[in-house]
Structure formats: structure tokens, C-alpha cells
Symmetry: C2
Amino acid sequence: MDGETRTGVFWDAVRGEAPVPPAAATLGFEFVEVDPDRGTIELAFTATEAFTNPAGNVLGAFVAAMLYDTVGPALIATLDPDQFQSTLDLNTRFLRPTRPGRKLGHGRIVHRSGDLAHLAAELTEPDGTLIATATATARVIPLTEARNAV
Amino acid sequence: MDGETRTGVFWDAVRGEAPVPPAAATLGFEFVEVDPDRGTIELAFTATEAFTNPAGNVLGAFVAAMLYDTVGPALIATLDPDQFQSTLDLNTRFLRPTRPGRKLGHGRIVHRSGDLAHLAAELTEPDGTLIATATATARVIPLTEARNAV
């Protein structure tokens, strides 16, 4: 993990020296691999029974939530400590049902143009079986404007 | 609320005679108004501190989750008791940041064509201020296949 010389709250969390944000903790978020040079991130989430529909599957609502929390960190990993990001849109395709348990989030920056970034992510089972995919657009904002971040 | 003569687990929940599914409970889901004849639904959700980003705003992940859990029930309300639905995609636009508290989900069926339904929803503050919008596509499936539902 390329985080030993990087500073800021995000990298403190990557190194396990700071807690992840409350929403991330609720989703069972864990860092697996962060590569800001390639613009990629590998994360893990834990879907609990509290995320299930009447059939016992993880409701797509929480699948989308995990994908949301994959694309954002992929971008944040490439930002300066005085920058943050706000997601403008998230488009999710649900491919297969999934049961509670550990899921992997694979995120990447597809293209960055000025303060706009085009992002993509997949959520898979630990064995690589594809659960859902997403694309997103995000805007890089000053950390001082994080109060306005979605 | 037009549910007095309708049967099935969904309407039992609308009438408060059955619990909402675990994922809905996690989102603080409450029925406000269900109108299957118009294809509309009004819901309430409660965003807690457990849904927040580092700035204390509700992470868009949970905004998207609430919109997901608005479009599905709008469709389910119009189905027979032996039918269920599976969401194929959800496209969300995040318009404003929002803090923890009560939010309203306004969902509707835009168009139904055979087993496919085009759905839309808005999430607002209780005063009507728009937080985010979503469109979705869902497929009507037999309840016996609910094990495959996303």
C-alpha cells in the first residue's frame, strides 16, 4: 500500500491510524489496496442481515451504497490533503443477487478533466463473481468546502 | 391509504401489521401514503449519524439507498400478492448535501411495459427541499423467484 509518505486524514485511515467515517464503518468498509498512481482502489465491505430484503438477499440499496463508497475513495486517494470530493451522480447496474457476507469493491478513475472526475467500480464476491457495476461523476472541491459535499 | 382490501406481506406492512424488511428498518423506512392506482408512493426515512461522511453530511451512499428503497415499493404496491420485483438499475443525481434527520421519498411508476417498469423518485427534506433524484428500471418476477431478487 503506497501510503507511507502521504499525509492527511484519508491516509491516516488507510494506515489504520484513524477511524473510517461513520458511513463507511456502517458498511463494514476496509482498505485492501490503494494505488493513487494507477488511480485504483481495492476495498472490502461486510453486508449484514440488517441490509437484507424479505428474501434474505442484500437489498440493492446497500449494494449501491458500497459502490458509492468505492468510487469516492478511489478519487480521494489521488487528491492533496487540502482537497475533498463531492459525488454528482452514481449509475448502478445490478447483475446478481448476493447474500450477507464479505464483498469486494474495485474502484478506479476512468478520466480526470480539471475538477471533474469520471469514476467506475465493480462489487464482487470474494471469489470474483460480479454482483454489480457503477459509474460516477465527482467534483474535486477544497477541503474547506467539505461541508457542501454529498 | 388505499390498503384495506389488499392482501399480502407488503400491505400487511403498510397497515403496520407486519414489520418492514431488515434493510428498510435500517434506513428508518416508514410508509406515509401508498396509491397503487396512481402508481405513487410517499415514504419517510431517518438518516442517522451512522450514515455520515467526515463532514457530518449524510453520505450519498445512503441517499442512493433511500431512493432505491423508494422506487421498489412504488412498483410492489401495484403487484399481485404472488409477484415481486427485482431492480435492474438505479441512476442517482445528488443535488444538495443533507444532514441526519427525517427525509421524504417520493416515488412513482413512470411507465410499465410487460414485466419491465420504469420508475422515478425524489428524496427531499420534510419542507420539500430537493436532495437527490433517481430513475430506475425494474423487472416484475414471480414471488417464487424472489430468491433471485436484488
